[in-house]
Symmetry: D2
Subunit: 336 residues, 4 copies
């Protein structure tokens, strides 16, 4: 931690800072500059709350060298974490994992049809929402437990493990009973009570980046899950909110290689939610793989025109099949 | 709803749209333009999911005239909602309500001292966090139920009703047992399971705007609470996330008069979280009142240097007392 | 400047940094931490380009204590700059200055009528655009020199000095011949060739904040003008671009007190462009004054329905007159 | 254009709108809805200024179906524009063009060395800045005309045509005398006087997207150049400004396929400025090509540690050579 003093901070103020730092149990090293003095804080074992210091007279700003996460950092865990789901390895660096399915489970027919089709096209996992977070209360909110049962059925029949969203701490156990991977949606990335609950179970968690979450906040959210004892976290970039409204969100692909530098956790990409437009999904899916993503999450619907949610960004079964053929070629190229 | 067709959309595509709209139970009115055709959708009673239509060939975009909320809209409820808390009226347009207290309850001494002091300075309500959402898991997370008990004690002794944050559906009942107003923090604005649960209780809810929530999403979140039967929602602007990092957030004061046009719900401002800097709190507090805010939420700490969270943005007891004297003059001026 | 090393940076890398810093003519002070080492750079007289250091192996990040501006900083010039325009003082802290007029000069009748009316209502200066920056080339681009002549005429007749925008270095002299204050629009805040040219003239410059300019960039843009010898810069907040689209921009009022802390330059507010909605202009105008703004820039049009640009955010003559009466009361209150 | 009326707008207000629209020379078609009325505007030949209408009583909002650009739209020019530079074709869809070189020309030795090296590695064009836009005035601002001469020399010797930035209308002729392609930087994307001047010359223009420019504004800026008679515009995505500060900007790759849908102009990507970090340039360069970019602009410096600007994001000569080998394989794969 570095404490930067005001231009005109006097000797007394600097001494007060040094004492305050020492009272916190750390050592203080003043660095006089030509314009102002800075004070280095030594001996801290992790992130330090800077409130005490920031409130003292003469302090201009406090700069953190340590971060609000540690367990997820590659600094302390240099090897990639590989998350295993029913024999599939996510994060091994060998082969990206493809999760595909509808935004929401709508009926047995819809989910069975989709599961069979995406399996035939080469998907590794099934996705589908039973609990749906929607902007307003007057639209379809998901089939809830009934949806989980249909997902299980489709999973068993197709042989594909499945991932589905969980929205509150009290439904974690219920969802965990059915799902192979539990997803935390973007709106819940900082629902800390939910994250803590997910840290106590044994199943892998797919954590989506919040709409306006910095990478530091994203990793700190994952830290909540690891801190409770669950090491199986898969990160997922799904676009961030910016001033641009031509796409639903702005897909931030540079976080893929950047998070690979900062953390050992696997990271996937959801180009469907990121772009919100079907025509942009295939190019962004490919770009994500080339950027190093450990997997893709793709929305596929047998009849997007009639989808109860996110129809415009869902691929048709044919569209998904075509994309998978192209992805296979790309994966072969990247692996060669 | 208006459906805008592609430049080169042909007659067949337009007819397919009209049929699709009719299948949805609405009427379709084509508006031929010099460059492209648009199709108006008539007869919808509220927000329509546009997925079906967007997915049809030839459609360029869909424009919504209706909104994802209705109960919170001033269109359908022209008179101001006045939320009553222990005899205090919020949203009456008469006198803004001042809620003050520490970011987090830290000890009996701290909260009692603060409660007495803010009462003496003229505050109407006490605020204080027992459950604290923090970026990372390694910092102080609040005293939880113990904190609620201390808040109750401080409330009884000072005679000030209190507001405190609730973070998960399963703690709603517990928090409601103690608190006069339950607060939903910015990170939980779209925690829909929590909102639904809060819609079922009889106590007022203070709903903070999410860091990157549009006004439409903010109002739609309030709609969740009203839709479950709880009409007592107080909105609170607390700054949004932008590219500017010199302040903690960007305080968006224009939403005050704008939300007053759009909704009948009261709206307050939290200049402490919005700016993150003690020196900016007084000018922004005054600006908020002049802009029409129904109240202020202010962080006050007897010893901000030692605060476990948000010290740099907390006013001292003296600072709060000075500000209250200035606010009193301003309130008199505005009321005259 | 502080250089933060990677977790695993070795002794050799640290020594290489120290040498590189010394080669730049500065002294280096290593600060060993429990997790990583940081190196303080001492002796720099201002902002240092960090490229050289950032490119060396082992460096995690470089943190600047110095800033890219100096002349505009209050650190080095503690007293407020007061800009004088035809006997009016801007930035004196005594009385805010009101500049009012149409977005664009459209005709002699329009500008004369407006000038007379805003003068009668109590405005201090006239505003009006002769050169108009517009998103696309197919809309009205301003009357150019003809517009300057009409502004001069209106200024002489009303007795109000006027401010108008200049868009390119080669028209600076022409605009300076007519105008009392030259305005740099938000889109040109980093048009450095224009800023340099404006630094060479003797007339005051009103510099609007860029749509996505940080405060640091805003002050650094002003520094360009001061560095060329022109000390008369008036800053103007006009809203920033964020994800929120319900208002034209997001008015960032917290910058008013913040810039007052950081710089000695006067700062005004333009609530018309910031909000883009007539109904929001009066509350935001008042909030700006309460926040400490040195003045307001307001769009007024005798017939907003027929305005060639920005009609929806322009006040009518009656609306402006009413607002001025309210502002007078507020100014008296603030001054008392 | 669609005019949406307020919920409670009466018959008289609607009739006033219809008359106003007819006065503008268009036809008006009212569309009564269950909640409110909307009025379609027919017969407009392009973008209509909505000020007049928005200012009328009862109007809630105005929705544009037409856009502020036309010449750059694919609607009216379905075939790709191919920009030719010294025998190289940009936008043909056959082979992406690689432009490489230092951020700024610093010396004859530096630019000659770089030109030879990037040519040897397979670059198609040389890039280098002679006029440098910098945040503050106290850092290196470029070698200006001397830099242009060195670029010419390096271009002649290496056989690579070159692109360089132009910052003001009065230097357009000078820069055009030397350069093969003239670049407009992000800060000048809406420097309309500069754009107009560039529309009058015969050389191709590389237009970078502004830091906070929407796609619509980006295309409308290009429209300024085409409207003056110069059809040779190459667009360039270089990252946008968002809340995320871990990367210099947020690279918005989804605009590549999206702009291809909307416009016939070629579009390139600059991963160096977008990310600001050398390690992220190769993965983003590859992702850009996979997303369909017509070319890449890459910063390369023989000694990035000593670069006067943008060192941390510059590739070394070896790094560029390695990347080119990987890009060649990818280009072959994509072309197969």
């Amino acid at each position: 931690m570095l404490i930067v003093m005001n231009h005109n901070a006097g000797k007394k103020q600097i001494e007060a800072i040094i004492k305050a730092v020492e009272r916190m149990g750390f050592a203080a090293a003043p660095i006089p500059g030509s314009e102002r003095t800075a004070i280095g804080v030594l001996g801290n074992k992790g992130y330090v709350d800077d409130s005490t210091v920031l409130a003292l007279p003469g302090v201009k700003e406090v700069i953190h060298v340590s971060k609000p996460y540690k367990l997820v950092s590659r600094d302390f865990h240099p090897r990639n974490t590989i998350v295993k789901v029913a024999g599939i390895e996510i994060g091994s660096g060998k082969r990206p994992v493809i999760m595909a399915g509808p935004c929401a489970v709508e009926s047995e027919d819809q989910i069975m049809k989709t599961a069979r089709a995406v399996k035939a096209s080469g998907a590794d996992m099934l996705r589908g929402g039973a609990f749906k977070p929607r902007t307003g209360p007057h639209t379809f909110q998901g089939m809830r437990e009934e949806g989980l049962k249909l997902l299980s059925l489709a999973s068993r029949e197709s042989g594909l493990p499945f991932v589905t969203e969980v929205m509150s701490p009290d439904t974690v156990d219920m969802v965990a009973e059915y799902a192979d991977v539990l997803q935390v949606g973007a709106r819940n990335m900082q629902n800390f009570e939910l994250l803590r609950e997910l840290g106590k179970i044994k199943k892998p968690i797919l954590l989506k980046r919040g709409m306006s979450a910095t990478i530091e906040e994203f990793l700190a959210a994952a830290e909540y899950i690891l801190a409770e004892g669950n090491p199986g976290v898969i990160l997922c970039e799904r676009g961030i909110r910016t001033f641009e409204t031509a796409t639903r969100n702005t897909l931030d692909l540079a976080v893929i290689p950047l998070i690979k530098e900062m953390s050992h956790l696997p990271i996937m990409v959801d180009p469907s939610h990121a772009t919100g437009r079907r025509s942009l999904v295939p190019p962004m899916a490919k770009a994500a793989l080339v950027a190093g993503a450990d997997g893709l999450m793709l929305e596929v619907h047998p009849d997007p025109e009639k989808a109860l949610s996110d129809g415009p960004q869902s691929l048709t079964l044919q569209g998904f099949d075509k994309l998978m053929k192209e992805l296979e070629l790309l994966i072969s190229f990247l692996g060669s």
